[in-house]
């Protein structure tokens, strides 16, 4: 009986608390005009190792304005953000992992146009047109790209290369020849892993995109992204087949297709740097440096690990680079949110993160010398100096298509003979999705 009494008292207390908290939650809404800066909520996919440097980026703004930033991290950003937007409770700012989401939300009218928030002239100076275009929907700018990574990087161990007398390949054919040489010497040339939980397959799409751009050039690439050419186009098929030349060739990848499918991409990056090396090369974006440095803290950048640019297939597209980036968008138009948005659009804000490592800026104004080591600087340069830059294609496609594309990579590795059928299936999904 006393148990019951206690619970009823508890319930009563809680009921009072409900009213209290509910009231307390209400008074954060700001009024129009240049009001005092309050709390800004920011949602993103970042987790450990990324939240802390971002907080440092925001620290200067907090110190200047007296505002505070609360970061909401979730791995499944698109789902949670969609739920929150649909529910009428979006965060103030969101850091989207790809422009497709930006287009999706902007198209549905969920984002705030930034043209009168930011100094558009200064922005034009800081960013290449590619980046401005990617953030623009129907003539209005909705997002600013803040953290980018080149994806055209092939990681290798210079010490091993030197010892074996291997040359860095410049063309696709050189690379295949080198790979054959490595097989003959007894070590697998490549390490590939595409496992990534719910997003398994994406490291494979990076290969396809890189090859397509290096072989067929930016125009075909753009048509493909815009679905102006079919997925069954010979250019696409050729990119898949070239990927297969590496991924499915006998002796090229330890464990073959099964291993590629089942190995987490992060784990795969370790193989060239183990002693003895289990493979010689690993292709994935610039962020791979972080994996290697984390797993092998004793290795020295440039001496023990380095990257070379992904080779060209058609010499006409020799300098082509693909990459990805996170874009910050605004969902609630409050003075606080505007203030933080302006801060994040400046190059200076990001210097602390750039200096801390694991960060490349798409902003031309950021001084290359702030990067902690030559590799990070080299990666950032590849991004800002490239003759041809194209954004990671699958991140620009509708999510159904992206999903089918990932699945297509998996299917292709399991059943390469079905390539035509697989491309046909993706095309069917694309035809429907782009029609909407």
């Amino acid at each position: 009986m006393s148990w019951l009494k206690r619970t009823s008292i508890l319930a009563l207390t809680l009921a009072l608390l409900v009213t209290f908290v509910a009231c307390a939650a209400d008074d954060t809404e700001p009024v129009d005009g240049e009001e005092p800066i309050g709390t800004v909520s920011v949602m993103g996919v970042w987790g450990a190792g990324e939240i802390e440097p971002f907080e440092e980026v925001v620290a200067a703004w907090e110190a200047d304005t007296g505002g505070t930033m609360e970061f909401e991290g979730t791995r499944d950003l698109s789902a949670i953000l969609r739920a929150r937007v649909s529910g009428g409770n979006p965060p103030d700012l969101a850091i989207l992992p790809n422009p497709a989401l930006l287009q999706d939300f902007a198209g549905a009218g969920d984002l705030i146009a930034l043209d009168d928030v930011l100094d558009m002239g200064a922005l034009g100076d800081d960013y290449a047109d590619t980046w401005i275009d990617l953030g623009t929907v129907d003539g209005d700018l909705y997002g600013v790209f803040i953290k980018a990574a080149t994806k055209s990087t092939v990681w290798y161990n210079p010490a091993n290369f030197n010892a074996a007398g291997y040359e860095i390949p410049e063309s696709w054919d050189d690379m295949i020849a080198l790979s054959d040489q490595m097989v003959a010497d007894g070590t697998a040339p490549w390490s590939i892993g595409i496992e990534s939980g719910g997003a398994t397959g994406w490291p494979g799409t990076d290969w396809i995109q890189e090859i397509l751009l290096a072989e067929s050039g930016p125009d075909v690439y753009d048509q493909w992204v815009a679905h102006e050419i079919s997925w069954t186009d010979p250019a696409i098929k050729s990119a898949f087949e070239k990927f297969g030349e590496v991924a499915l060739a006998e002796g090229y990848v330890p464990g073959g297709a099964d291993a590629i499918l089942a190995t987490p991409f992060q784990d795969a990056s370790y193989l060239p740097f183990q002693d003895p090396p289990q493979a010689h090369m690993y292709f994935l974006g610039a962020f791979t440096q972080g994996f290697i440095a984390g797993q092998f803290p004793d290795l020295v950048p440039e001496d023990d690990y380095d990257f070379f640019k992904f080779p060209y297939v058609d010499a006409a597209y020799m300098g082509a680079v693909t990459g990805g980036a996170d874009v910050v968008v605004m969902l609630n138009d409050t003075p606080s949110a505007r203030s933080l948005m302006r801060h994040l659009a400046t190059a200076d804000a990001w210097e602390s993160w750039a200096a801390a490592g694991g960060y490349s800026s798409p902003n031309r104004s950021l001084d290359v010398s702030v990067y902690p080591d030559a590799l990070a600087a080299k990666a950032a340069e590849q991004l800002t100096e490239s003759a041809i830059f194209r954004f990671d294609a699958d991140d620009l496609m509708p999510s159904e298509v992206q999903n089918a594309y990932f699945a297509g990579i998996i299917d292709y590795l399991q059943q390469p003979d079905r390539l035509d059928a697989i491309l046909g299936e993706i095309e069917a999904v694309a035809a429907e999705a782009y029609a909407q």
Binding site: S78, A108, T200, D258, N403, Q436
Partner: protein
Amino acid sequence: MRPRLATIAWLYVLPAFVLLGVFLVYPVANTVYLSLFSGRDTSAFVGLDNYRYLLTHPETVIVLRNNLLWLVLFTAASVGLGLILAVLSNQVRYEAIAKAIIFVPMAVSFTAAAVIWRFMYIYRPPQFEQTGVLNAGMAALGFDPVPWITNTTLNNYALIAAGVWMWTGFALVVISAGLKGIPTEVLEAARVDGANEVQIFWRVILPMLRSVMLVVAVTLTINSLKVFDLVYVMTFGNYQTDVLANRMFKEMFTFGNFGRASAVAVVLLLAIVPLMLLNIRRFRREQ
């Protein structure tokens, strides 16, 4: 007296009704309505198109197949193992410990369970040292390692195994409770009547546990149809492991296709309702 009594009764159920109405009944009604519309903005009425898609599209047919697989294997394995363990552990002195061990996974979140099982299923190419228990076992036995999660003929079973690991404890505890409810004298009577232990199990214990087993089976069947977290965390439905609840989540939140997502939800509801009725009918009969 009568009307006042009814008023009090309504007061008793009122809080539950309000909560259920707002948080469950209204969303369900809304879902059924939305399932008849198409697209992201759910503006165009398309009748049963979403259902047609669901029941005919190759990708979603696999989803239905997988749910069926879950329904049969997950339920059968959990109930079967629970029954066997209940009967066996009833004969040993360390019964409580054994039951607690089997039950522990029930207290584990799906996120933690997914971590645990991805750890079990880790695959590395044959020439490397295996870091996953299962593949290390395969290697020790001289077999090639198996990519449990990505191999499309095995991965559904691998996921179901993780589900069975989590839910057998529930089946065990309930069936064991039922087993304790069988009067010892009835078993002794059977023994005196000339039955051996195997005959006692099949002809006395099993029939007497029927209603308990039915409750467990129905609960687990509903769980098998609603299975979401394990698939969501471990494969997100990739490699042909998708299930209805995950598909719904994907359609709704990843693709933003509310109409189709609602249709998936309605199919899920329709699949479960008969089971629920079965369960309730049983309770009615026993009263």
